[in-house]
Amino acid sequence: MKPAPFEYLAARTCDEVIGALAAGEGETRVLAGGQSLLLEMNYRAVRPVQLVDINRVRDFGGLDVVTVPDSGPWLCVGPLVRHGRFEQQVEAGPLGRLLARAVHFIAHPPVRARGTMLGSLAYAHPTAEWPTLAVTLDARLDLVHEHGARTLSADDFITGSFATARRPDELLTRVCLPLLPTATGVAFVEHRRTAASFAQLAVAAALSAQDGVVADARIGLAGTAARPTRARAAEALLTGRAPTDEAINRAAAASVGVVDAPDDPHAGDSYRRHAAEVLVRRALMQARDDIAERT
């Protein structure tokens, strides 16, 4: 379990990182927390020619609320913000609460102390917590390369299991998550074998209420497809209705379509489909209770 030979560059500036990626011809990988990359390198599942270490780059630790005209406030997260940062609410509203609930499912404290949110998004594990939240909340991701930049929605960014739209010469420099209306109930639930395991299934839910009915429903589901997906049919069933048990049950039943699960020696598809429905229901109940607790 020793990595194949690689070159190592400790970058000091963003330009240096981007320059190295451009020169790397697809064989350069970015080292942030290293919690997945180094493991894969030790197993020699990946053999990058070069690692560009971004841990010394100044200004990569940003974590700010940015207000964008016409689209409201966003929480914007830089490349060196570690998972553990979200254990305390980084924002007083429902978004901060949701992040704080989700982060506890990420591995264990040593991993949370090193791993980064952007690293997790770039890695795109099919049941990882941050990609699930990013898809659920329609996060925006900024990619920079030598000759320009672009912004993608999470839905466009994550293309499959461990697959993203990031080109090898691009650096993921920022993810922005929309702040949620105050009267939003949030929940994050997972099904996993041990506290240190990856999720078999994960569900993120955010229900915004107005006058006793759901004004906006967001349900993200991981573990039933190659990448996290929105349960749009379920969201539509809830929107405009009171979040009664019956409505929630119907939404949960509608949330799980075709299961195209990641390869897993421990759970088959029919169990996965069943468990996903249970988890969606539990997440929606929790989100509903979360509204009630705050109003």
Binding site: H108, R193, T194, P265, Y271, H274
Partner: protein, 742 residues
């Protein structure tokens, strides 16, 4: 007066200071000048004909000092068999595969380089050509002999029966008969430190070997025999060991290849098994499929039990072929069943080699017996605890000769079960269960397991020497792999001599210093090794008496031994140190105590999320009887660890391979272990029935958790879901329990 040796006291381990400060010296920590590191080229297929191994590119890798496959060696060392040579003799196991590979991960070539990174670079450049053959992966399939692993020979390497065949009329006339099957999966040992060896040829033809091992003298003998060396030129030293659990008793092919490479290069060579190797190609435990039949009369008294068990022993029978017979002989369990008949087979499969894993045949027996007792209890509508009480071997029936050919030395099985139920507050949980069932609440179940296990085998060597400076050296043929011998053996010796335990220093685990020894496995260290040291300490006192009697010219009978290691005779007082001042004062002992049968009762309370099938263990009570306990802290530490491994077996662990026999659980993200978050509230209690065959009275400790926990948890889950325990299969994945609950 207080015992300065602290016998029976929970004193802190003297080993822990250096270990927690990072001063431990494991094989990987040794700094040996000029040491090279080895990596293995392993077969990617589970079964195939080896056509060619091309190491040209490996050898050209800068920093690689040598690379060999079997075809590059004139004489490939053969792996020696442990305990069961007859099944192994005509099935040779070359240290590097010669013409056929029999499991995925089998060593095909060794690459030796300046460091492990380069060794792995060289490994990756090897080219193996294999003609795949069909792989037989389970014992049922392999036992049909359609695909022989050794052409011309059956895949069934061992086929034994124990006990007398049951008269068919017993089954016909019985009031109740249950008949069921179980599957106990293959498990990995997952010691924190995996296997490791460093072999250094010395000037003058001597070979020094540091190995993370349980039986240094056996390793020495095996290495010498396999490599054609005189035994006395091989010195085996076992430094700190990070857990063994049976996987380090053997002389593995990798050890032979590393040592052969070191001899060829005349350089020290080290191999440290990494987690990927340990999980994909390392030894396995358990892997049995069983069929059990149990008959009882109208009062629930057992009339007969029949067990057929097949163990999938992997590509070679050398290490694990004896395990099914252990299961067979332990199939009596704690019960006075008049007729027990077992057929046990070791079947070759294209999987990594089976070897003893903590419990070694006894967990498999306890699982078959204890889950079947609960099944019968369900059938006849009797409380499972009550059914056990009716069938226990009675406390006045010892020594008890089992129908399977063992002699249980001593025990009080009802007392252990009663203490477990009392500690658990059994009636309260049964009331809670009734309440939940009435209210359609979360299913709750209670499961018990009454186990008997076997400990100790063979003789052991011990010696005690007094020094003029007042200190003592205790020398043992055992070999600690985490069991705190330096602490506990010192307690035994110091207590016998009446001296402070800090004055006693232990020497073991070095074949150049310890003349002979068997090692530490089968829970034998305190039972056998402790007894040898106790005997040696008493012989030392006897010799001291003789010496003082001669010096003072008094009859030996007048000499009084007092605390502090002093002897008195007619006004003369001598310490043991003073008596050793001019002439060595030393005594040896070789003891051969018979095997002992520790026992106990485990009880578990679980809750099952019916919708998702997730099992939550709420409470675990362990009552163990290990005879005399020298240090409760050390024994409890081993019990907690064993219980955690038992929970792993019940709920998480299984070595999984694909249809072609390639491993799928290659990291600890796939091979799941319980973490601290999964450990429930545990209460340990004890009864004490001293070993009647020894002066010390100790029986084996440390393996019981692996034996008692899985049946207790499975029985509890079955009880919660109101289903037959035999419908569940370990590990109890959520999917398994969900399906069972539907």
């Amino acid at each position: 007066m207080a015992d300065p040796g602290d016998m029976g006291q929970a004193v802190a381990r003297v080993e822990d200071g250096p270990l927690v400060r990072g001063h431990g010296q494991f094989v990987a920590d040794l700094r040996v000048p000029g040491c090279l590191e080895a990596a293995f080229v392993r077969s990617g297929v589970a079964h195939g004909l080896l056509r060619s191994v091309d190491l040209t590119a490996s050898r050209r890798t800068p920093g690689v000092r040598g690379a060999w496959s079997a075809s590059h060696l004139d004489d490939v060392p053969l792996v020696p068999a442990m305990l069961y040579p007859e099944g192994a003799l005509d099935r040779p196991w070359p240290a590097l595969a010669t013409d056929r590979v029999r499991y995925a991960g089998e060593p095909v070539a060794i690459v030796v380089a300046e460091n492990r990174y380069v060794a792995e670079d060289g490994r990756d450049r090897a080219r193996i050509s294999t003609e795949p053959l069909p792989a037989v992966l389970d014992s049922a399939q392999a036992g049909r002999d359609e695909v022989p692993l050794f052409p011309g020979l059956s895949n069934v390497a061992v086929d034994v029966t124990v006990g007398e065949p049951v008269d068919p009329r017993v089954w016909e006339r019985a009031a109740a008969v249950v008949d069921t099957t179980y599957r106990y999966p293959a498990l990995c040992h997952t010691s924190v430190e995996a296997r490791a060896i460093l072999s250094r040829p010395e000037p003058g033809g001597v070979l020094t070997v540091w190995c993370s091992h349980q039986a240094p003298h056996r390793l020495r003998n095996d290495l010498a025999a396999a490599l054609g060396l005189p035994t006395d030129v091989v010195r085996v030293i076992v430094p700190d060991v990070g857990g063994a659990f049976g996987g380090k008793s053997e002389t593995w092919p990798e050890y032979l290849a590393v040592t052969a490479a070191a001899l060829r290069l005349a350089r020290p060579v080290r191999w440290v098994e990494d987690r990927a190797e340990a999980l994909s190609a390392g030894p396995r435990g358990r892997a049995q499929t069983q069929r059990v039949r149990l008959a009882a009369d109208a009062d629930g008294r057992f009339l007969a039990m029949e067990l057929h068990t097949d163990a999938a022993v992997g590509g070679y029978p050398h290490m694990g072929a004896f395990l099914p017979e252990v299961t067979a002989r332990m199939a009596t369990g704690a019960y006075a069943t008049p007729e027990v008949h077992v057929r046990a087979r070791a079947v070759l499969t294209n999987t990594p080699p089976l070897c003893p894993y903590r419990g070694a045949g006894r967990p498999e027996a306890a699982y078959a017996v204890e889950c079947t007792v609960d099944l019968l209890a369900r059938r006849i509508g009797m409380d499972p605890a009550e059914l056990r009480r009716r069938n226990f071997v009675r406390p006045d029936a010892f020594p008890y000769d089992t129908p399977t050919g063992f002699r249980y030395d001593s025990g009080d099985y009802p007392a252990a079960l009663d203490l477990a139920l009392k500690t658990l507050d059994y009636p309260r949980w049964r009331a809670e269960q009734a309440h939940r069932r009435a209210a359609d609440g979360t299913p709750l179940g209670i499961g018990v397991c009454a186990y008997v296990e076997r400990s100790g085998a063979g003789g052991e060597f011990g010696a005690v020497e007094a020094h003029a400076d007042g200190t003592f050296t205790a020398t043992s043929g055992c070999c600690a792999t985490g069991q705190a011998h330096a602490t506990t053996f010192a307690q035994v010796v110091a207590s016998a001599l009446g001296v402070d335990r800090h004055l006693v220093h232990l020497v073991e685990a070095d074949t150049s210093v310890v003349p002979r020894g068997v090692g530490s496995f089968a829970s034998r260290s305190m039972q056998n090794g402790g007894e040898a040291l106790l005997e040696a300490a008493h012989r030392l006192l006897a010799e001291a008496r003789r010496r003082l009697a001669a010096q003072a010219d008094v009859p030996e009978a007048e000499i009084v031994v007092q605390s502090g290691g002093t002897l008195h005779a007619r006004g003369r007082t001598r310490t043991l140190g003073e008596l050793a001042a001019h002439h060595p004062l030393r005594a040896e002992a070789q003891v051969e105590p018979p095997q002992a049968f520790p026992f106990g009762a485990y009880a578990a309370v679980v809750e099952v999320d019916r919708e998702l099938g997730i099992v939550r263990v709420l409470r675990l009570v362990a009552v163990d009887d290990y005879g005399t306990v020298v240090n409760p802290l050390v024994v409890h530490g081993q019990t907690y660890g064993s219980i955690a491994q038992g929970l792993g077996q019940a709920l998480y662990e299984e070595a999984v391979h694909d249809a072609d026999g390639r491993p799928r659980t290659v990291s600890l993200l796939e091979y799941l272990l319980p973490t601290l978050s999964e450990i429930p509230d545990i209460t340990l209690e004890e009864t004490c029935t001293p070993n009647p065959a020894t002066r010390l009275g100790a029986k084996g400790a440390g393996e019981a958790g692996c034996i008692g926990v899985p049946p207790a948890v499975v029985n509890a889950v079955a009880d919660a879901l109101q289903i037959d325990p035999s419908t569940l299969t370990v590990p109890l994945t959520p999917e398994t329990c969900w399906r069972a609950a539907r």
